[in-house]
């Protein structure tokens, strides 16, 4: 079991305090220190998964007690998006966990890490899950594409404006509607990512459908959309079948 943790400078107190109290927790968790947990980027989470993390753990300040005010509200939203993405990729969303740790919450923190480790042991390591290693790599690569794509990051950054602040007419989006929309966008972008991963070499829509498990009709739809976005193009026609390839921009 390999767990990567992210902690802010202040919740890190609890971690050190757990050390002073000699509370034991599994040695296979290592923490990256960030000034505030809001520094956590979705792309970092997926990077950790690509480097073999079986789970991600976050030690955050208690809600409303963040030293940088809204910081941990934002990171909670990001953790939620990461869990959504895991679910869309066919992995368990419980592979991401967090604990609100104030300085003196060392005991609770150690317990939370222990509980998370046990839960992960039940799930098994990521590579030992039903899917084989190459397929996992493919899925994580598709997730990475989602996290670094500008439109997705743009819409995620608009949450404040769309849901909480509202526009000049004071029209706000219902938070549930926003969530549904984000999930839809993440799923679509993930599917596009999977297709693009398969289009590194010229490939037909039917072959991509076989490789990814998405229906051929949907794959063709998405490829047409990718063509419109100039992220994929028609390469050649072989045996009356169009072969598409990813456009790698300089």
């Amino acid at each position: 079991m390999k767990i990567l943790g992210f902690t802010c400078d202040w919740a890190g107190f609890a971690l050190d305090y757990a050390g002073m109290q000699r509370m034991s927790y599994p040695a296979d968790i290592a923490f990256i220190n960030l000034r505030c947990s809001a520094r956590f980027d979705l792309a970092d989470g997926v990077q950790a998964l690509s480097k073999g993390a079986d789970g991600l753990f976050f030690a955050l300040c208690p809600l409303g007690d963040c030293h940088y005010e809204p910081g941990n509200h934002h990171v909670l939203a990001r953790i939620n998006h990461l869990a959504d993405l895991l679910e869309i990729a066919g992995l368990r969303r419980d592979r991401v966990a967090f604990y609100h740790a104030d300085t003196t919450y060392a005991f609770g923190l150690a317990q939370a890490i222990n509980g998370f480790e046990e839960k992960l042991k039940e799930f098994g390591t990521l590579s030992s899950q039903a899917l084989g290693r190459p397929e996992l790599v493919l899925r994580v690569a598709a997730m990475k594409r989602v996290c670094t794509s500008e439109p997705v990051r743009w819409i995620l950054s608009k949450e404040l404006e769309l849901v909480r602040k509202g526009n000049v007419f004071d029209e706000k989006l219902d938070p549930q509607d926003y969530d549904t929309m984000i999930k839809h966008i993440l799923r679509e972008e993930y599917e596009k990512g999977l297709i693009l991963e398969n289009l590194k070499e010229p490939c037909s829509a039917v072959d991509v459908a076989e490789a990814t498990g998405i229906t051929a009709h949907r794959v063709f739809e998405l490829i047409v959309e990718l063509e419109r976005e100039t992220r994929a193009r028609l390469d050649k026609i072989r045996k009356e079948r169009p072969l598409y390839v990813e456009v790698v921009d300089g």
């Binding site: 050390g19 040695a27 290592a30 809001a38 520094r39 980027d41 990077q47 950790a48 007690d65 500008e150």
Partner: protein
């Protein structure tokens, strides 16, 4: 990147739980490591002597930065260094047979990755802030005067600006000070006398702050009298004012003339500030002592919640509380509003006489409305302080500092935060003056702020919207919008860095590459 020298500490049970020889063997085999040394205690004099003259990037495997950080800062001198906590995060929580050594290797690899990816030009995480010993105090009310006085007495150059043409603020509008009962005018004299001639405070009347920009030695301020000056610190003492009410006027008239005729009606408006209600109640009790027979009534809307203490006190002093508005309304001269000395304090309030039908009676009518912050929206924006719905300046970073600090060098005093008794206001002003003196004397340090790559920026406005400190500002350019960062206000929390859609913002201390390298190093072991 030059090669890294690693020093491991044996003390504090580290060597009992972690196989340091194994660590040494592992890291000696890496290309970017020059040497690995194991020392008995990294904190003692022998280690300092041993490290004397060692140059280049240093990686320490030892203990907590919070408790022992300064020791390693001294050990490293001006060399770039990274401290890995092998004590609290490894040796003290894991045992040798449960993988403490493996974890130590992992932690050290991550530290090594962070050190090697760090920009060596900026390895100093903080820079000295050379502040100009000059303070701008905005607002010449009790808080502003007290603060200016306390600062000037400590030998600090002070510029005091006031929007109106008279100094004194609230003290001019009230007769005595609540709740001590001190004469307002005497207090004003105590605060003001000698301020300009003996303490040499520069006072500009009918002057406002127009704009504020950060500069090398503090803030560059622009005033409405076309003066442009550089200030080391700024004190916001703009106070509060009463809207849709006349309690202050009433107090002034009452204490000035000393008498009025007829009963007294306090009309409480919805959304009244509790502070105002409390002050009015105190007035009512004082009046009760003067006029034991007269009717004193509070008309309180249903939406205003009254404390039990208020109700009990009202009963004790025979003050009536009637829920709802005045039934017949108010007619006549609202004499309370007038400051002309010949005008009588008399209005006609139509209300049911106790037990009988509706008739009018003559008396005084006091409206208790809202108290709001006095600071204009533009100024609050220039100062980058958020306001709440009543215009008070919101508290910031309460976990780190007490309530007067907003941004480094900007302080909010007195009623601009929230209405408070006069004594508290003046004490607060003294505290802030002491803080400013301490700030100037302590040679403060600041972290470098986040940096925005303006070529990469798409002007979406995320950073400007999300930053709690208002550090990034969205500016209009010929082709659209671009964000600009004000490093003085940035705390490097990383909220905008992680959320930027196009990765245009970077952290000079802990870069994106550094975090990625740490994750990679973690994954490799």
């Amino acid at each position: 990147m030059e090669k890294v020298k690693i020093f491991l500490c044996q003390g504090c049970e580290i060597s009992q739980k972690i196989d340091l020889e194994k660590l040494k063997k592992h890291f000696n085999s890496l290309a970017q490591v020059q040497s690995v040394e194991i020392l008995a205690q990294l904190g003692d004099g022998a280690a300092r002597e041993h490290l004397n003259g060692v140059e280049g990037a240093l990686l320490f495997g030892a203990c907590d930065e919070r408790t022992h950080g300064s020791i390693f800062e001294n050990l490293a001198r001006s060399n770039p260094y990274q401290l890995v906590n092998l004590r609290e995060r490894c040796a003290w929580v894991h045992d040798a047979d449960t993988g403490a050594t493996e974890k130590a290797i992992r932690l050290l690899s991550m530290g090594l990755a962070e050190l090697t990816t760090r920009n060596t030009q900026k390895h100093l995480t903080e820079w000295d802030l050379d502040l100009l010993h000059r303070v701008l105090v905005i607002g010449a009310g009790p808080a502003g005067l007290a603060c200016a006085r306390a600062l000037a007495e400590q030998g600090i150059d002070v510029v005091l600006i006031e929007k109106s043409n008279r100094l004194g603020g609230t003290l001019r509008r009230t007769r005595t000070v609540w709740p001590s009962g001190e004469d307002s005018e005497k207090l004003l004299h105590r605060l003001y006398d000698g301020l300009q001639d003996k303490l040499h405070v520069t006072v500009y009347q009918e002057t406002e702050l127009v704009n504020l920009e950060e500069s090398l030695h503090g803030y560059e301020v622009k005033l409405s009298n076309d003066a442009e000056e550089e200030m080391g610190a700024i004190v916001v003492a703009t106070g509060m004012r009463e809207v849709s009410g006349n309690l202050f006027e009433f107090e002034y008239r009452w204490r000035d003339r000393g008498k009025f005729r007829g009963p007294l009606a306090f009309e409480v408006k919805e959304g009244v500030h509790p502070f105002l209600l409390e002050t009015a109640f105190w007035d009512a009790v004082m009046l009760r002592h003067e006029k034991p027979e007269e009717r004193i009534v509070f008309f309180v809307p249903e939406s205003v919640v009254l404390s039990e203490g208020f109700k009990e006190g009202a009963e004790k002093h025979n003050i009536e509380i009637i829920r709802g508005s005045i039934p017949g309304g108010v007619r006549g001269v609202t004499g309370v509003m007038s400051l002309r000395p010949d005008r009588k304090l008399r209005v006609i309030v139509k209300m049911p006489r106790r037990g009988t039908g509706v008739t009018g009676w003559k008396g005084a009518h006091v409206k208790l409305g809202k108290l709001v912050g006095n600071l204009s929206e533009n100024l609050a924006q220039a100062l980058r302080i958020p306001q709440d719905t009543n215009g008070y300046l919101a508290q910031r970073r309460y976990r780190i500092r007490s309530r007067d600090v907003v941004h480094p060098g900007i302080f909010v005093v007195g009623g601009a935060h929230t209405p408070m008794p006069m004594e508290e206001t003046i004490n607060h002003a003294f505290v802030v003056a002491a803080r400013i003196k301490a700030l100037f004397d302590s040679k403060p340090k600041r972290l470098p702020g986040a940096e925005i790559d303006s070529e990469c920026c798409i002007g979406c406005g995320y950073c400007a919207a999300v930053c709690p400190y208002g550090a990034p500002i969205l500016e209009r350019t010929d082709t659209g919008h671009k964000a600009r960062m004000s490093p003085r206000f940035c705390t490097l929390c990383g909220l905008c860095i992680a959320g930027c859609p196009v990765f245009a913002i970077s952290d000079p201390v802990k870069s994106r590459e550094s975090i990625k390298a740490q994750i990679d190093a973690w994954g490799k072991v």
